[in-house]
Every structure is written in structure tokens, then in C-alpha cells.
């Protein structure tokens, strides 16, 4: 386990290095710069453009800019916003808790529904419940989540007026109930696709595991069905699920970008959207980098959890 852990942790460093190169190249390798827009204004003097370029470090060659950027990254400095000149790191850190709140809520929601539904449909295979669950999960996997968000707003906020249509809390309120009320719609819209996907996956996994010999052995020993299902079957079905959860993290972040934009949720996604609209390159680089790091760490934790739960990996 120890070597596995160390190996796995060491793997993320080249990956993070690769991500910095990719993020930097994707945005900076294309000719032209954010400053070239300034030149469109006839009132801008060329020396002003040159001065701003120099201030933003855009007059340096590409590789130098990359090393400056990475060097600053290692000091925890993500640079300054190209639009507001504010510190990118503090902007992001201010927004991060909101995104984590939303994604965690969506994650829990997906988990809370998909696990029992998936297990139950596998156990009652070909029952009415199974058919309904299958149809609903196929419908859920295919739904455009941003459209669902709009429909949810239309129904629950515009027509029924039960829930707020956006934001994290009402002005001057901010109690727990108020915050939860604001959380329901975006969390559900963000969760639905993963919820449906996981349900199908858990059902499939359970069906597979139930067919195994050791389940038959457990049953023939006369162990209660409930114990067979949860102690013997589900524990084994859970393992690949951990990897699936890890792989879902990028989807949650991508989803958060669009859901946060729709629900005016002040998180990383909304920040990225606003930065993209205002062409704030350093800010986008910061948010993309940060969300990628979260994904890498999430996968790392999923793998470590896998190692802890699976004795076969512990031994090797």
C-alpha cells in the first residue's frame, strides 16, 4: 500500500506540469494578444499599447512568459487580472467555497438517489420499478442540463414561485433555510445527468456481481439476503464506482460552469464565464488551472480510496 500510494502521488506531478503547458499554450500560442483590441481605438497611441503590453509582460517571447507564469505559480501567485488588475488568486479563493458547496450538494444528491435506486432495480430485475427506473435514467442521461435548469426556473421560480431563480441567498437574510432554498434548483440541475448515469452503472454492476459464485456461496450458507446484498455484493460493486466518481469530477466542474452562469451562482464557473466575456486571459488561465488541479486531486483520492478498499492492491 505504501509504495502504491507514493507511486500514485508522484504521478500527479508530471500531469500537473503537462496541464500548465497545455493551458498556457492553448491560450497563448495563437498569434495576436488581448492588447491587439486596444489598437482598434483610434484614440490609442501606439506607445500606449506598447506600454500596456510591457506591463502585462506580453512583449516577452512565449517560453519566457511561460516560465515566468509557472515560476509565479510555484510561489502561489496566479498573476493579476488583465481587466480589473485584481489578484487572480484571491478572486478565485473568494469564489471557490461557493463552487464546492454547489458541486458537493450535487454529488451528494446524485449519490443519495442513484445508489438505492440502482441496487433496488438490480435486485428486482424486470419488475415495473426496474423498467420505470431504466426509462427515467435513460431520459436523465440524455437531458441537456442547462435546458433542464431553464425549465426548472420556468416552473418553480417563474410560475409556481416556490423557489428563487438565482443567487446564493436573499439580501439581508442568509440563514440556513434561505441558503438551502437557493441551493435546491442548481444542485438538482447539476446532479441529474450524473445521477441517471450512476443509477444505470450501479444497476449493471450489481447484476454482474450477483451472478458471481461467492454470492451463491453466501446464499447457500443461509446468510440473510440483506447481508448478502450489502456485505457481499455491494462492497464489491462499490469498487469500480469509486473510479466512476473520480471520472465524474470534470463533468461536475463543466456542469457547474453553465449551471452557475444560469443561476447567477458566484462560483468559479461564473467567474470563468465573466472572464471569457471580458477577455481576461490571466483569470481564465487561473480558473482552468484550478479546476484541473481539483480534478487531478479528486482522481487521486478516488484511487487512494480504491487502494484502501481493495485488499488486492494493498498487497502489491
Amino acid at each position: 500500500m505504501g509504495t502504491y500510494l507514493i507511486k500514485r502521488v508522484l504521478q500527479i506531478f508530471p500531469l500537473l506540469f503537462g496541464i500548465t503547458i497545455l493551458v498556457f499554450l492553448l491560450i497563448n500560442a495563437v498569434p495576436g494578444s488581448p492588447v491587439s483590441d486596444l489598437a482598434l481605438n483610434p484614440g490609442t497611441r501606439p506607445e500606449d499599447v506598447a506600454r500596456i503590453k510591457q506591463q502585462l509582460g506580453l512583449d516577452q517571447p512565449l517560453y519566457k512568459r511561460y516560465f515566468t507564469w509557472v515560476g509565479n505559480l510555484l510561489h502561489g501567485d496566479l498573476g493579476k487580472s488583465m481587466v480589473t488588475y485584481r489578484d487572480v488568486r484571491s478572486e478565485i479563493m473568494g469564489r471557490l467555497p461557493n463552487t464546492l458547496k454547489l458541486t458537493t450538494a450535487a454529488f451528494l444528491l446524485a449519490l443519495l438517489f442513484s445508489v438505492p435506486i440502482g441496487i433496488y432495480s438490480a435486485l428486482k430485475r424486470n419488475s415495473i420499478f426496474d423498467y420505470v427506473a431504466t426509462v427515467v435514467s435513460v431520459a436523465g442521461v440524455s437531458i441537456p442540463s442547462f435546458w433542464l435548469a431553464l425549465i426548472l426556473i420556468l416552473v418553480f421560480a417563474v410560475n409556481l414561485r416556490w423557489l428563487p431563480s438565482g443567487g446564493t441567498q436573499n439580501l439581508g437574510d442568509g440563514g440556513l433555510v434561505d441558503q438551502l432554498r437557493h441551493l435546491i434548483l442548481p444542485a438538482f440541475a447539476l446532479a441529474i445527468v450524473e445521477l441517471a448515469g450512476w443509477t444505470r452503472y450501479i444497476r449493471g454492476q450489481m447484476l454482474e456481481v450477483i451472478r458471481q459464485d461467492y454470492i451463491r456461496t453466501a446464499r447457500s450458507k443461509g446468510i440473510a439476503e440483506r447481508v448478502v446484498i450489502f456485505r457481499h455484493a455491494f462492497r464489491n460493486a462499490l469498487l469500480p464506482l469509486l473510479t466512476l466518481f473520480g471520472l465524474s469530477i470534470p463533468q461536475f466542474f463543466s456542469g457547474a460552469l453553465i449551471i452557475e452562469t444560469i443561476f447567477s451562482w458566484p462560483g468559479i464557473g461564473r467567474l470563468t464565464f465573466d472572464a471569457a466575456i471580458s477577455r481576461d486571459y490571466t483569470m481564465i488561465m487561473g480558473t482552468v488551472l484550478l479546476s484541473s488541479i481539483m480534478v487531478v486531486l479528486g482522481n487521486l483520492f478516488a484511487d487512494i480510496g480504491y487502494g484502501l478498499l481493495d485488499p488486492r492492491i494493498k498487497q502489491s
Binding site: S142, L154, F253, S254
Partner: protein, 350 residues
């Protein structure tokens, strides 16, 4: 990403043994009736048995016909172009007929009566016409993206799996890196770079066909899944005896890849491609909705939703309809893809 779609974990023997018969049967099967049906025929029979998939295929074909028949719909059914505005007929409910005296345009001063089958939007444009044209753009973007992603993924996966070694190591680390960045973030990033680049946006081509950039942007991160799949298959197949035999006979690497390994991978490519279309349609829609994709006034299912949110209470149909088109298409292709997977990969349905 979806481990259920990865038949690489099983033994590729059955599939490899089946596929060549598809290539040889058309020549030999014709004169004699007793010859067993080819791989394609057997797959089709298996597919046909799945009623749901069959229905979904029909729905998808109808969607494609509706979208690519946009000019016909515009000419004969709605008699409106996708950009024709009529500010005297904004927010018409579905099925309403409106007569209005035209101001300006070729029919200036005349009374023109238009029937809005699915209503009209905030500028009095016919929704049905725009849905058809929007579908054409959305589907075309998805198909083009698929073609580009398939080309990149196939090349990288084939090279990686066939040659192995440090080439494989580097290419697969590249794939890992791409997969670690949340998709929509990259898309926004790339889209911003391209759409702000004067060298690209200044061209007349961009001004007329700006949406053609989009498939390249989306393809930048859609190739990773298929390249991993192809690599896995190539790794397994290149160890087989007939590949050795081909090499002994002096075939070049390129010939072995194209003639001997690739045909065995085609079923996997077909299944992957079908199941990739829904996510590509969704990606295009999301990106266009956020206004980083297809730019107005060119309609797409995604960007038709963008403005509609401002008119929630006035005309909910504007929100519901484009989304419903996306939803139906995506669901149909998903279910069709599931049926196709079961039909093309006999290992899965025992």
C-alpha cells in the same frame, strides 16, 4: 471514459474472427444460397430485434431529414426564411395567423399574411423555420466534430497502440492531461482565443462561415476517448498471428495498420461514433447557449435558447422548443447507440 463502452477488456478474438467474414462474404456468398450471412447482415438482424432502438433510429432519421430539409420547409411549409423579421408579429402563439402591412423590403406596402405554425420569437421570426435551420447547423457541427475527432483519435490511438514504447508513453500522457481539464473550460478558453484573434476574425471566411470554426474547437478535446479505445484494440490485435503472417510476407507497417488491423476495429469505431454524437450535440448546444459557439444571427438549437430566457413569462415556448429538439435527438441517438453496441458486439449479449 465510460467503461461499459470498452470492449477492449474482453478477448478481441471473437470480433476479430467475425470481421474478416464481412470483407470476404460479398465476393463468395453471391452464387451459393447456403453461405451464412455476413457480419453486417447478422448485426443488422440483431439490431432489428431491438424494437426500441429501431424506433429511435427512425426518430433520428426524421430529425436529420427535418434539419437538412430546412430550405424546403422554409420554401414550401412556412414560407419564411430563418432571418425574416416581422416586428408587427412578435411573440405570436403557435398556430396563429397574422396579417400585417409590410414596411420596407420587397413587399413594402402590401399586406402579407403569415401562419406561424410554432409561433414567432422576439423579432417576429418563424420558430419552425429557425428550428429546422438551427438543427441543420447543430447537427452539421456535431458531424464535422465527429469526423475531425475521429481522425485525430484514430491516428494517435493507432500510432500509440501499434508502436508502443516512448511514443505510446508520451501520447497517452497527453491524453491524460487533456482528460484532466474540465471540458467546457477548455472550450471556452479555446473559443475565446480564436474569437478574439484579429487574424482569424478579420477574414471574410470567418464573417460568413464563423460557425465552421466550432467543430475544430470542440474536436480539440473530443478525440481522447476514441484514441484510448483504438490504442487498446491495436495493442491486443497486433499480437495476433495473422499480423505476424502479414509481416512475414513483407507488408509495411502502414499496410498492416490499414488492411489488417483497422477492419477489426471498425465495429468499435461505429459504436463509439454513435454514442459520441449525443455528447457532441450537447456540447455544441451548451457552448452556443453561453454565446461562445455558433454566433447569432446564424440559428442553432443552443443559441436559440440564449435570448429566450429573457422572455420566460411571455413566451415559454421559445425556451421549451429548442431544448426539446436537442433532448429528443440526443435521447434517440443514445438508445440507438445502445442497440447498435449490442448488435455489433456479440460478446456483450450472451
Amino acid at each position: 471514459m465510460d467503461s461499459r463502452n470498452t470492449p477492449s477488456s474482453g478477448q478481441p478474438g471473437d470480433l476479430a474472427a467475425l470481421a474478416p467474414s464481412a470483407a470476404t462474404s460479398p465476393k463468395t456468398a453471391m452464387p451459393e444460397q447456403t453461405k451464412s450471412p455476413g457480419y453486417a447482415m447478422r448485426s443488422w438482424r440483431r439490431f432489428r430485434r431491438n424494437r426500441l432502438s429501431l424506433v429511435c433510429m427512425v426518430i433520428f432519421i426524421v430529425m436529420v431529414l427535418f434539419s437538412y430539409g430546412a430550405p424546403l420547409i422554409s420554401k414550401y411549409v412556412t414560407k419564411q426564411g430563418f432571418g425574416d423579421q416581422n416586428l408587427q408579429a412578435t411573440f405570436a402563439p403557435a398556430g396563429k395567423t397574422i396579417s400585417a402591412v409590410q414596411i420596407g423590403g420587397p413587399n413594402s406596402g402590401k399586406t402579407v399574411t403569415t401562419k406561424y405554425l410554432l409561433g414567432s420569437d422576439e423579432l417576429g421570426r418563424d420558430v419552425l423555420t429557425r428550428l429546422a435551420y438551427g438543427g441543420r447547423i447543430s447537427l452539421t457541427v456535431s458531424f464535422l466534430t465527429l469526423a475531425i475527432a475521429l481522425t485525430i483519435g484514430l491516428l494517435i490511438g493507432a500510432v500509440s497502440g501499434f508502436y508502443g514504447g516512448w511514443v505510446d508513453a508520451i501520447l497517452m500522457r497527453l491524453v491524460d492531461t487533456f482528460i484532466s481539464i474540465p471540458g467546457l473550460f477548455v472550450l471556452i478558453l479555446v473559443s475565446t482565443t480564436i474569437n478574439n484573434n484579429k487574424l482569424i476574425t478579420g477574414t471574410t471566411f470567418y464573417r460568413n462561415n464563423g460557425w465552421l470554426i466550432l467543430p475544430f474547437v470542440i474536436a480539440v478535446l473530443s478525440w481522447t476517448g476514441i484514441s484510448r479505445l483504438i490504442r487498446g484494440e491495436f495493442l491486443a490485435i497486433k499480437e495476433r498471428d495473422y499480423v505476424d503472417a502479414a509481416r512475414v510476407l513483407g507488408s509495411s507497417d502502414a499496410r498492416i495498420i490499414v488492411r489488417h488491423i483497422l477492419p477489426n476495429v471498425i465495429p468499435i469505431i461505429i459504436v463509439w461514433a454513435t454514442l459520441a454524437i449525443p455528447s457532441l450535440i450537447l456540447t455544441e448546444a451548451a457552448l452556443s447557449y453561453l454565446s461562445f459557439g455558433v454566433q447569432i444571427p446564424t440559428p442553432s438549437w443552443g443559441n436559440m435558447l440564449t435570448n429566450s430566457t429573457q422572455y420566460f413569462s411571455r413566451s415559454p415556448g421559445l425556451v421549451v422548443l429548442p431544448g426539446l429538439m436537442i433532448y429528443i435527438t440526443v435521447m434517440a441517438v443514445n438508445l440507438m447507440g445502445n442497440g447498435l453496441r449490442d448488435a455489433l458486439d456479440p460478446r456483450l449479449n450472451d
